[in-house]
């Protein structure tokens, strides 16, 4: 039922969850980046990514996951995401007029203006919105994974 450390689930579960992990992360990235076209966005995609990390915690055990992707690294990942968000919003001062103004509309980076009405969804639109979605997604993945990892480690100390 478990390996030599006494933690984690059986080898079948470990192999299959480590094979599924990249696919779930790709799906989470898809939901994050298409936030301005389909339902989704930063928090939703981030929650999917965090549940992938939680699946690894359940399959491999909290101590093993702490060694590989520790709480410190997840915390730093989260802080970088938050910083990118505020820095991009502050760029609104420098490039255009006010805080968090959409200064990328009309440029080549995410800058196309879509036609009004039904369209098949052009990814290159939205201005700064995909970048902000990505920053929020980074923050949510790092934050929720760190929270569940910390809770799992604290509960482990009782045993």
């Amino acid at each position: 039922m478990s390996d030599e450390n006494g933690e984690g689930l059986s080898p079948i579960v470990k192999v299959i969850s480590s094979m599924l992990f990249p696919f779930i992360m790709i799906f989470s990235f898809y939901v994050i980046m298409h936030g301005h076209l389909t339902p989704g966005g930063g928090f939703q995609g981030g929650a999917i990514g965090a549940s992938a990390v939680v699946m690894l915690i359940v399959a491999f055990g909290a101590r093993h996951t702490e060694r590989r992707a520790g709480e410190e690294k997840l915390s730093a990942f989260e802080s970088i995401g938050g910083t990118v968000f505020v820095v991009v919003a502050l760029f609104g001062f420098i490039m255009a007029a006010t805080f968090m103004s959409n200064f990328l509309v009309g440029t080549s980076v995410f800058g196309e203006i879509p036609p009004f009405g039904s369209n098949p969804g052009i990814l290159n639109t939205g201005g700064i919105l995909p970048i902000l979605n990505f920053a929020v997604g980074m923050k949510v993945i790092g934050g929720l994974s760190a929270v569940v990892l910390a809770m799992a480690l604290v509960s482990r100390e009782d045993d």
């Binding site: 076209l37 966005g41 928090f43 879509p114 039904s118 098949p120």
Partner: protein
């Protein structure tokens, strides 16, 4: 009348949640009660935006024959609800962390035994 059923569900959810917060003694049930109240308020916000016969307010692959933009439901309550869900997740994570620490310190989850701060 059938379009008022979500509002009845809102009142039912908030009543059940408040009952759990006020009258239950187990700390985890209090946390669950707060989550139920929050679900009720989120349902209330989403129901405010409904327009009869409307579709989702998304332009990508819109079904044909929809009057723009009057044939869509309102998108702003959906943004408000999303913000509220995120805040609810953060509060739930915080409360569960507190419960873990309280259990480690006191050894019990009964809120009557945890009340060291009286008067």
């Amino acid at each position: 009348m059938i379009y008022n059923i979500p509002f009845f569900a809102v009142i039912l959810l908030i009543a059940v949640g408040m009952y759990a917060v006020i009258f239950k003694r187990n700390l985890i049930k209090i946390a669950i009660g707060i989550t139920i109240v929050e679900s009720g308020v989120n349902l209330f916000l989403i129901t405010l935006g409904y327009r009869e016969g409307g579709v989702a307010p998304i332009y990508t692959n819109l079904p044909s024959g929809v009057i723009l933009p009057g044939g869509m439901v309102l998108p702003i309550p959906q943004a408000l609800t999303l913000t509220s869900i995120v805040i609810g997740v953060a509060i739930l994570a915080l409360m569960l962390s507190f419960i873990i620490r309280i259990y480690q310190y006191y050894g019990t989850l009964d809120s009557r035994k945890v009340r060291r701060l009286k008067e």
